[in-house]
Symmetry: D2
Subunit: 405 residues, 4 copies
Amino acid sequence: MSDIKRVVLAYSGGLDTSVIAKWLEVERGLEVVTFTADLGQGDEIEPAREKARAMGIPDKHIFIEDLREEFVRDFVFPMMRANARYEGDYLLGTSIARPLISKRLVDIARKTNADAIAHGATGKGNDQVRFELSAYALAPDIAVIAPWREWDLTSRTALIAWAEEHQIAVPKDKRGESPFSTDANLLHTSSEGKVLEDPWEETPDYVYSRTANPEDAPDTPEYITIDFETGDGTALNGEAMSPATLLAALNDLGRKHGIGRLDLVENRFVGMKSRGMYETPGGEIYAQAHRGIEQLTLDRGAAHLKDELMPRYAELVYNGLWFSPEREMLQAAIDHSQQDVTGTVRLKLYKGRADVVGRKSPKSLYSEAHVTFEDDAGAYDQKDAEGFIKLNALRLRLLAKRRGT
Amino acid sequence: MSDIKRVVLAYSGGLDTSVIAKWLEVERGLEVVTFTADLGQGDEIEPAREKARAMGIPDKHIFIEDLREEFVRDFVFPMMRANARYEGDYLLGTSIARPLISKRLVDIARKTNADAIAHGATGKGNDQVRFELSAYALAPDIAVIAPWREWDLTSRTALIAWAEEHQIAVPKDKRGESPFSTDANLLHTSSEGKVLEDPWEETPDYVYSRTANPEDAPDTPEYITIDFETGDGTALNGEAMSPATLLAALNDLGRKHGIGRLDLVENRFVGMKSRGMYETPGGEIYAQAHRGIEQLTLDRGAAHLKDELMPRYAELVYNGLWFSPEREMLQAAIDHSQQDVTGTVRLKLYKGRADVVGRKSPKSLYSEAHVTFEDDAGAYDQKDAEGFIKLNALRLRLLAKRRGT
Amino acid sequence: MSDIKRVVLAYSGGLDTSVIAKWLEVERGLEVVTFTADLGQGDEIEPAREKARAMGIPDKHIFIEDLREEFVRDFVFPMMRANARYEGDYLLGTSIARPLISKRLVDIARKTNADAIAHGATGKGNDQVRFELSAYALAPDIAVIAPWREWDLTSRTALIAWAEEHQIAVPKDKRGESPFSTDANLLHTSSEGKVLEDPWEETPDYVYSRTANPEDAPDTPEYITIDFETGDGTALNGEAMSPATLLAALNDLGRKHGIGRLDLVENRFVGMKSRGMYETPGGEIYAQAHRGIEQLTLDRGAAHLKDELMPRYAELVYNGLWFSPEREMLQAAIDHSQQDVTGTVRLKLYKGRADVVGRKSPKSLYSEAHVTFEDDAGAYDQKDAEGFIKLNALRLRLLAKRRGT
Amino acid sequence: MSDIKRVVLAYSGGLDTSVIAKWLEVERGLEVVTFTADLGQGDEIEPAREKARAMGIPDKHIFIEDLREEFVRDFVFPMMRANARYEGDYLLGTSIARPLISKRLVDIARKTNADAIAHGATGKGNDQVRFELSAYALAPDIAVIAPWREWDLTSRTALIAWAEEHQIAVPKDKRGESPFSTDANLLHTSSEGKVLEDPWEETPDYVYSRTANPEDAPDTPEYITIDFETGDGTALNGEAMSPATLLAALNDLGRKHGIGRLDLVENRFVGMKSRGMYETPGGEIYAQAHRGIEQLTLDRGAAHLKDELMPRYAELVYNGLWFSPEREMLQAAIDHSQQDVTGTVRLKLYKGRADVVGRKSPKSLYSEAHVTFEDDAGAYDQKDAEGFIKLNALRLRLLAKRRGT
């Protein structure tokens, strides 16, 4: 690591990554390149430019990018095709953003001849793993600096003292301890730590920032439609939208109706359990809708195989293995299944729920002729069922005979 | 089949199975034994005795049993340990009842020296498969008679005409066509067919019989606790209850708060898609609670393996393979995981949702000492993370080097 | 079925399918189109033309095709990429040929305006299922005629009598019962039935037709190399070969060295166990070689995922579900993994064994620098292992603490 | 770690672990307890006692145990029930021994009030992981010392110099470098490193120590029988034997016939590929026999589920996760399947091969009545196959109709 001269830092413009930027310069003697991305977290990103300049970083080493469309199109939507939920529930909102950030860090490192990247994730969490596995998978010889695993600024007080000592502006609201820690992007907001650390205590309502409390949501349901083409959402209420635009519009609807709150105790890749609170308003609506259109257009064999592969896929994304051969293999299988996942889903939004109430498709595999209780005009011969059952039963009967029953 | 003399019929006391009873006697020349079970479907079962007598069946051949505790304890709860949901959603309320009915049909056949069983399921659905696979697995040489696959009473009119011709009382409300078909037991009510056959049309509210419309449910949330011991629910709000009593009490709560409605297009084992409406009020609450206590008490390795096995388990139950070696193998694995799934879950019930808001357990694996953002007193050494990431990254770096990146 | 006028028959030219051809004409009143394929079974196919003519079939309705290259390139090789072995052993030689035959039957049916296909498989085996599922998947409205399930020619004597009655030449060696039943193509020969029916009795040596008895094979080992590109074999001993040529050359080598004999009791899709004898001389060598090159070029994540998916893939092929969405999904995943499966494998052939003894590749992921017991010049930091183990152990330690150990 | 006073060392009596024992005392100031186990590695273990004494270790701190029966009964046999092979081939001979050694190390640590264990595995391999994960799973607060990851004796010369400096006897044959590294126990011998490091070079014959070269093996096959009860081997050629006795006897047979050699490039848990040579003479025979008896006695559903779970099971054992909830869950499923795996397998041993040639069982599921080509007296109705195929085809036909074919 002693040969490192220049480092690209994932820089939010906030206090913590400002301290890291300065620390990398002062304590490690490195030239710092900052990278600030708009992933839909809701904060302005332009202020990060001024803050970086204020620390003496030259303009050519300040990178600010709007990645919202790439994020949704190339990361969120492919993951949604898999119906991925980690441990049955979590829509992977933080996990799915990290590979994209690492990809850009690595790209900028190459462009600026930097030999390292740095991030502000702690040594206890999953994000360090996600950042670093992604970076190594894209640039095997890059160095990674994770100041939180190295420095001794382990208390809030120490951090703020160090910041003031090094002329970093400390906003007033950062002086006290935050009652919890958050991450946000276009897909979700997560909160963990502090007031959330006792899993028996209900999450206080003030922790939620992106969704109405269902009790305060409208008393009247709202109906919407989402159109899908080959597995991806393309329109809301009949109006065509780009991926990021669609997700943003669904976020507005989800916020209004209190949809997508999740209180979870989950298993981290690093081996411990943690308790998190997630808000994924648009993502929850989208996920329900995607399953709705699959119900009509996916064959049973494809659908069941997808269901069996999903937990593994979700685990890979959660663990930071987006850029791994096995995630890509699963994606190839999943994407193959989506070629006819086309049609329209109708949902009812009401007080925290997004329920599929209708689906139609030019690619529907639902055959009213086959399923009807009425006369089916010969579409299906009920007598076939006897042979079907008999042969499926054969091995069970042989087993029973062995038992002597 | 020509040697069959006596048949045990799954008899509800309703019009259809009354016609079947008479048809088996008249058209097939068989002695009919009736079996009527209380699985919590909500109808009285004693009237079936009089109806059977009215058809001339001797008392010793009329069997009426309350199976509610056995149903919940030996079928519903083991399935819930697996967190089973077919195609991601369906809690398998109909599927899980069929093996128990077949088990009793076979037992009674042995007791009465009957050589066949009969059921009233049609040739298009899954229930015929479930009844028959279960029966063959328990009694390999038993014969099965499925009149709906054999007779020519294929229209409602024909059925009613035949009933009247054979002195079977036809209730007035059965004269018209039912607008949909239903099945019910302590776990759920399902409806399908007729008005539900167009999957684009929202299920009309009158189809629901067991749950309040969420819009009409109380405006104030209700909080409850459920206690679990070794994977099974044992108490509601601190009050110990038997399995069936607990599920019934949860059904009351679910009904009140509009919980457990599901509108699904699913893939039948016999190869077609169908659209069903399910109400599983208590089951939905219970399922959420079970996952909640597992979050705290299951190790990651066990939890993820369970998640990966679940779709297969659910498929087996759905397909009628409860009495199969592979379902039993999966159950052995799942049950092994449940030995410390003990503790209390707190849920908030509100307008169609049952959300876990707290969990605690004497067997908790959650370690606040490890996860805390505060000083952890050495419980976890953040420096370990670097080696962890480095070795997990090694193969990815070798891959990247091969690509020449 | 009453509207069927013309049927395409999978016609070998042998006695059984000749009887079927005539039976379809005489008993069912159909115009018969014959299709005879060279899949490398080792018999001449041209004689089938004369036999078909002799039964009065017009030349335009006699189809004879050499499908060897298509068979190996589009069916055998893709399956070998998956390392597919049914029930751990069987290389699926019969299973993989059926979809191709059905594909051509359907194509010819369209070309000749036939409305049905027919095959000579019995009602007890897997082949009927494979033929028919493939046909229905390609032509949903085609009719399938399976005379063995319908006619009453259920004994050899009855069949021969019917043949003679209808002027079909009966070769002398067909007058007695064959001591077992066989199927053959470029990949394998299978035998089952009769003398093989007692699974305790060793398969008599005369059953084997394609491989030397290992005891009679050369006493000196022979070394060969096979080259692979992107997962498929391309050369033997440095000489480039087409897929079918390569497999044929490996068959010669395998025959000489007694490689690829398999005695198996397997589970049929139709529910019973059967005992089969298989000879897959070239296929066994090829399968070993493919795993050999994968050892060097596949990443662990990809390799383990492939191993986990393989049994399902093999089951699908065995069950006749080649043309199913789920087989195609798995194939997409598998093919994705093969893009760097390129290099050379060296094998030693000796008395029934084909052992990989060396492998090299421009795409190798094996890093002598990392693995060496010698000084590795910093490629790997052994201290990283401690953190790796510590974090992998964390959940196990929390479990142990819960147990109070 | 500074509080550690006493350490239990896995001590072979060889040079390396003698140096470690002394190093722990001299450099780390610890009291050393030695543990030497007979796992069937073939060396005498009693000499280790004198060597430990010679280093000044008191008798009460010298533990020497014969673990052969426990090893085979509680580790090898349960693993064989799973048919476990890592990456398709490796019978896990080293992997399966480590958990038992760790279990005893931990037991002895408790008995002697030691607070740490130590082992002689390097920082590049899997064994360190297996030792340590097992130890942590059994004793979460134990410390582990792995001198090879810590000291600077990284060359053979340095190690020998240190040994001589500290009065440790250095056998003459240890002065030069060994041409490869080995591990052995009753199940197998493994070799890796040095002359084996180029995966293109054939393993020299002198590396093999436990099996005849097949070319030198007898020219006449030998037939044997193995009896199984509920999944475990109980007799050879009709003679009842304890687990370890049976495996030892099979080792003799395998040695004679050159069975169980394996040349493999495998993926280590720590992220790199390595090339190993394994000899598992008795294990290979046993593994073939176990599959042979399963063919006859396992139902298809159980067999296929086992095949799908096997790669995961093998990976867990390989990675050192024997004492994990998920391995135990899989074991529960597997063991459930073995209750009728009882019977006799006949094998032919010849020049490197162990082929199943016959199997019989009082629990056989093979039904000659069903499978026969002869008249089956109504055991199976071929007409059932039509309905079976039709319903299995239904979804494929609906798919084809969607495509418009």
